[in-house]
Symmetry: C2
Subunit: 532 residues, 2 copies
C-alpha cells in the first residue's frame, strides 16, 4: 500500500475522541475492508455482555462475583444504592484523610507532618499505583513515594535504606485485597520491624487498604491503625487502580484524583457506544483479534514515546495477560488463550529490540502511544528550528513507517497531553478493550486460577522446608544428602525440592545449616549445626 492509500485508510478509520483528547489509528493493521462488518455480530454480543456486566451481572462466574470497576468513576451506575454509597463514602474518606495528612492534622509521632509514603503491595496492588505515581509525579508532590512489591529481603532492605531516618515521617500503606497475600504480609512485617528499630510504633504510621473482614482488616482494627479503606469483591486486583488501591496513594502524592476519575468516566461514556467505528475500545479489541487470529498468535508490543509512560507497558502486561491468559473458555473448553505483552518506551527501545521488530520474526503487532504536548513552556532548539520533542515525534513516525514498510502491523494512540484525565482515560480504554476481547473469545477476564497453582506449590515447598530442617536439627551434626533426607522424611517423590531447599538454606545463616560439598553438587551433604 502506498502512502496515499495509507492516508485514505487513515482518514477512513481514524477514531476521534475529542472528549478525552485522544485519537486511535487502526489503519496500519492489515484487516480487509469487510473485517469489521464480519465481526459485527460478535461485537454486538460483546456490547450486550458489557451492558449486562455494568448492570451488575455475575460477569465472573467462577468466583460468583460482579465486576464493578466501571462504577468507581460513575457511582450512579452501580447496581444498588448500597454499592453507590460505599463508593462515594470511600472517595470522600480518601479525600478527608488526604486533607488531614497534608494539613498535618494526622501526623507522625515525632514530626509535624508525614512527608514520605511507603506503599506495600504486589501485582494489582502495586503496578497501578506505581504507574500513576511515575506518570504524574512532579517536583511539587506533597509526599515522596516508595514501593515494596516483593518478598525479596534485600529488595525490602534497599527501600528501607533509601528511606533511612525519614521513616520517622513515613506513612505506610499496606494494600492487599484478600488481606492474606504472603509477599505483602512479609513486607509489612519487615517494615514494622524497621519502625520498631527506630523505637517507633508501626501502627501509628500504618494504613490498610483491604477487604472488609480480611486478616489484614482485623489486624488494622485490633491494632488501631491510623485508617483503613475498603476493597470489594466486585473489584479485581488488576482493575483496582481507580479504587482506594490506586486513589489513596495518588491523592497522598498530590495527584488530582477527581481528574483521574473524570478522564476514566469520559472514556467509559465513549466506549459504551455500540457504533463500532466510534468506539476505541471495541476497535482495539477487534484489532487485537485480527492480529492474533483470536488465539494469541502474535505478541502485543507497547511503545509509548514518553518517559513518564515507561510503566504503562508493564501495567498493560498485567492487565491483559492476567485477564486473557486462560486455559478454559466460559464453556469449559480448553483454549489456552492470551496475548503476550511487552515494551518499555520509545525512542529508547529503537536502540534495543526494534531491530528485531523491523527485520526479524514477524510475531507481533506494535502499539505506538504518542503524547503531542512535549512538556511545559518553550523548548531548546537542538538544531535550528528543531526541538528534542520534534525529534521524539519524528522517531515515532519514522519507526512506525519503517515497520509498515516491512509489513509489520501497528496501532497508534495519540493523546494531546499527559495529565490526570488522559491517564484515567488510558486506563479505562484498556480495561474495556480487555473486557471486549475476552467476550469475543469467550473467556472469563476476571479470575486467575493459574496463580493459585504456583502459590499452592510454593506452600508445599515451605512445608517441606520445615520438615527438612526439623529432620536435620533432630540429627544435628550428622550429614545427609538431599536424597537421604527426602527418604527419611517420606518425601521420596521430592528430592529436587529438598535439594534446592538445602542449597538455599546452607548459603544463608538463618537456619544454621552447613554443607559438605560432594563430588557433584547434587551429592553434597548437609547438617544442622544446632539441634532443635
Amino acid at each position: 500500500m502506498n502512502n496515499i492509500a495509507l492516508w485514505e485508510r487513515y482518514k477512513k478509520y481514524l477514531c476521534e475522541c475529542p472528549s478525552i483528547g485522544m485519537t486511535l489509528d487502526i489503519s496500519r493493521m492489515n484487516f480487509a475492508d469487510d473485517y469489521l462488518v464480519r465481526m459485527e455480530p460478535g461485537t454486538q454480543k460483546a456490547y450486550q455482555a458489557m451492558d449486562a456486566l455494568e448492570s451488575g451481572a455475575i460477569a465472573n462466574p467462577d468466583e460468583n462475583r460482579m465486576v464493578g470497576h466501571y462504577w468507581l468513576r460513575s457511582p450512579g451506575l452501580a447496581p444498588s444504592a448500597a454499592i453507590r454509597q460505599e463508593i462515594e463514602d470511600t472517595l470522600r474518606a480518601i479525600k478527608d484523610f488526604t486533607f488531614s495528612v497534608h494539613a498535618g492534622k494526622i501526623f507522625p509521632r515525632k514530626r509535624a507532618r508525614f512527608t514520605h509514603l511507603l506503599s506495600i503491595g504486589i501485582g494489582g496492588s502495586a503496578l497501578g499505583p506505581q504507574f500513576i505515581s511515575d506518570a504524574l509525579g512532579t517536583s511539587a508532590d506533597k509526599m515522596k513515594l516508595h514501593f515494596i512489591d516483593n518478598t525479596d529481603p534485600d529488595g525490602i532492605n534497599r527501600v528501607l535504606t533509601e528511606i533511612g531516618g525519614d521513616l520517622v515521617d513515613t506513612l505506610t500503606l499496606v494494600i492487599s485485597k484478600s488481606g492474606g497475600t504472603i509477599e505483602t504480609r512479609n513486607g509489612m512485617l519487615e517494615v514494622a520491624a524497621a519502625y520498631r528499630k527506630l523505637k517507633l510504633s508501626f501502627e501509628r504510621h500504618a494504613v490498610a487498604v483491604t477487604g472488609v473482614g480480611s486478616k489484614l482488616d482485623e489486624i488494622a482494627k485490633k491494632d488501631c491503625w491510623l485508617a483503613k479503606f475498603p476493597m470489594w469483591d466486585w473489584i479485581g486486583g488488576r482493575t483496582s487502580v481507580l479504587s482506594a488501591v490506586g486513589l489513596l496513594p495518588a491523592a497522598l502524592q498530590g495527584i488530582h484524583i477527581e481528574s483521574l476519575l473524570k478522564g476514566a468516566a469520559l472514556c467509559d461514556a465513549l466506549t459504551r457506544s455500540k457504533n463500532t467505528l466510534t468506539n476505541p475500545a471495541a476497535l482495539l479489541a477487534l484489532s487485537w483479534h485480527h492480529a492474533t487470529e483470536g488465539k494469541g498468535k502474535k505478541d502485543m508490543v507497547i511503545l509509548p514515546y514518553k518517559d513518564r509512560l515507561m510503566l504503562f507497558p508493564r501495567y498493560l502486561q498485567q492487565l491483559i495477560m492476567e485477564s486473557l491468559g486462560k486455559e478454559k473458555d466460559l464453556n469449559n473448553a480448553v483454549v489456552n488463550q492470551g496475548i503476550s505483552v511487552y515494551g518499555n518506551k520509545g525512542a529508547t527501545d529503537q536502540h534495543a529490540y526494534v531491530q528485531q521488530l523491523r527485520d526479524g520474526v514477524n510475531n507481533f503487532f506494535a502499539t505506538f502511544v504518542e503524547v503531542r504536548k512535549d512538556g511545559e513552556g518553550v523548548s531548546l532548539a537542538v538544531d535550528p528550528g528543531v526541538t528534542s520533542g520534534d525529534y521524539l515525534n519524528a522517531y515515532l513516525q519514522g519507526t512506525r513507517n519503517a515497520l509498515t514498510e516491512n509489513g509489520r502491523q501497528s496501532l497508534a494512540i495519540s493523546i494531546e497531553k499527559l495529565d490526570a484525565p488522559s491517564i484515567g482515560a488510558l486506563i479505562a480504554l484498556y480495561e474495556r478493550a480487555v473486557g471486549f476481547y475476552a467476550m469475543l473469545v469467550n473467556v472469563n477476564a476476571y479470575h486467575q486460577p493459574g496463580v493459585e497453582a504456583g502459590k499452592k506449590m510454593a506452600g508445599a515447598v515451605i512445608k517441606l522446608q520445615g520438615e527438612v530442617l526439623a529432620f536435620l536439627r533432630g540429627n544435628s551434626d550428622n550429614y545427609f544428602t538431599a536424597e537421604e533426607i527426602a527418604l527419611a522424611i517420606k518425601s521420596e517423590e521430592s528430592p529436587e525440592s529438598v535439594f534446592k531447599i538445602l542449597e538455599h538454606a546452607s548459603v544463608n545463616p538463618d537456619h544454621k545449616i552447613k554443607k559438605s560439598p560432594g563430588n557433584r553438587i547434587v551429592d553434597s551433604k548437609y547438617a544442622a549445626t544446632e539441634s532443635s
Copy 2:
C-alpha cells in the same frame, strides 16, 4: 514425567560452574535424550567459529569488523599488541580518573568533590550501565547516578529537576560510540543548557566516551572536556558494558570493576569448553534452539527472583533481540530470525502475567534466575523458622513446578550470590550464548541494519517538518489543511506525515503554529502566527 524422573534428568544435565558460583539447569526443557548429540556437529562448528571470532576474524562481515568484547576481560587474547595496549591503557585511565574524582583531585568548579554522576546515552550506551548500577549499587556508593536515555524533553527535564542544585557537583558522561547519536546529542545540549543556567561551564563537568575521531570526540577535544575515553569499532553497543561505556560509570559509582571483569573472564574460560555438557553458554543456546525450533517460535521469558536483577530482562531483551532479530542470514537468504524476550522479576510477576504462562497460550519458555544468598546478615522470621527469602525461594520453585506440571518449558540459572563477579559472569554467559545461537542459525549477531531504516525515515520527517514550517511562515496567518500543504511543498505522497507534524507543532508553543479545527480532525487547518 514424574518428580523422580525429573530429578534423574536434573542430575544428568545439571551444568555445574563452581568457578563462577553458578549452575544451569536445562532439565525442564523437553528435548529428547539424543538432542544434544544430534546437534553436536553444528555445535562444534559454532565452537570453531567462536574461536575464529576470538582470534580476530571479521565476525561482522557487513561492517567489515572484528568482534572483540571477549578481549576486554582477557586483553592477552587480543589479536594484536596494539589492541591489547589500548584495552589495558583504557582500563588504567578509567581507574586513574576514578581515583582522581573520588579523591577530589578532579573536582567541580564550585565544590570540593563530584558527588553526582549523570550519564547520557541510549541503547547499548545506557542499558548496560543502568543494569550494573541497579544490581550493585549500595548506600555506600561514592556517587549517585542519574540517567538520561531518550530525547523526551519532559523526561530530560525531570532528571534535571531531580538533580536540581546538585548539578554544581554533577559530573556528566556523554556516551555514544558513533559520537553522532541524535538522542544523546539532544540530551547533551539540554544538559549543557542547564549548566549554563546555573552559570556553570558544562565543559568543566563533562566527560566523553566515544570512538576516536567521532563528532563527539572532536567536541570534547576542542572544548577541553575533563576527560575522554575511547570506544572501538570492534565493540558493539550491546556488548559494550565491559568497555569504558559500562566500566567508567560503574567505577565512579564505587563498584569494583576488576571483579566484574574477573567474573566475565572466568565465565569466558568456562564457555570456551568444547565439551557441550559442561559449557553453560552452549547449553543455553541449544535450549533456545530447541524451544524455538531455531526460528523464534517461542518467546523467552526471563524471571529473576531478585529485585536487583529487575533490569536484567530488559538488558537481555536488547542483547538478544538486537543480535538475533535479522532479516537475512549470512548467505543472504531471507530468514526473519529472532527470539522475543521479556520479563521483570519474581515473585512480583507471579501476580501479573504468570497466570498466562501457566494456563494460557504456550508460546514461551521461561528462564528462572535464582540468587541463593538472600542478603546480608540474619533475616527476620516472618513465620516461625521461615524468612522472606525462604518464601522468595519457595515461590520460584513453586511457580516453576506449576509451569512444568502444565507442560511449559523452563531453564534455571542459580547463582550463589549477587556481586560484581557474578554480574560479570552473567553478562559474559549471555554474550556467548547469543554468539553461539547466531552461529547455529547462521546470522550476523553484530550488526543492526534495521535500526538505520527507522532513523532514516525519522530524518525525512524532520526535513519535512522544516519544509512545512517554512511554507506556513511564508504564508503567515493563512490557514491550510495538511493535504493542501503537502501539495504545496511537493510532498503529495506524504499527507499523513504532514498532518502529524502539524498536530504536534500546533500543540507546542515552539513553532508558533495555530490550528483551526475542522469537522473531522484530518480536515483541520493550520497557520503560522509569525512570518519567517
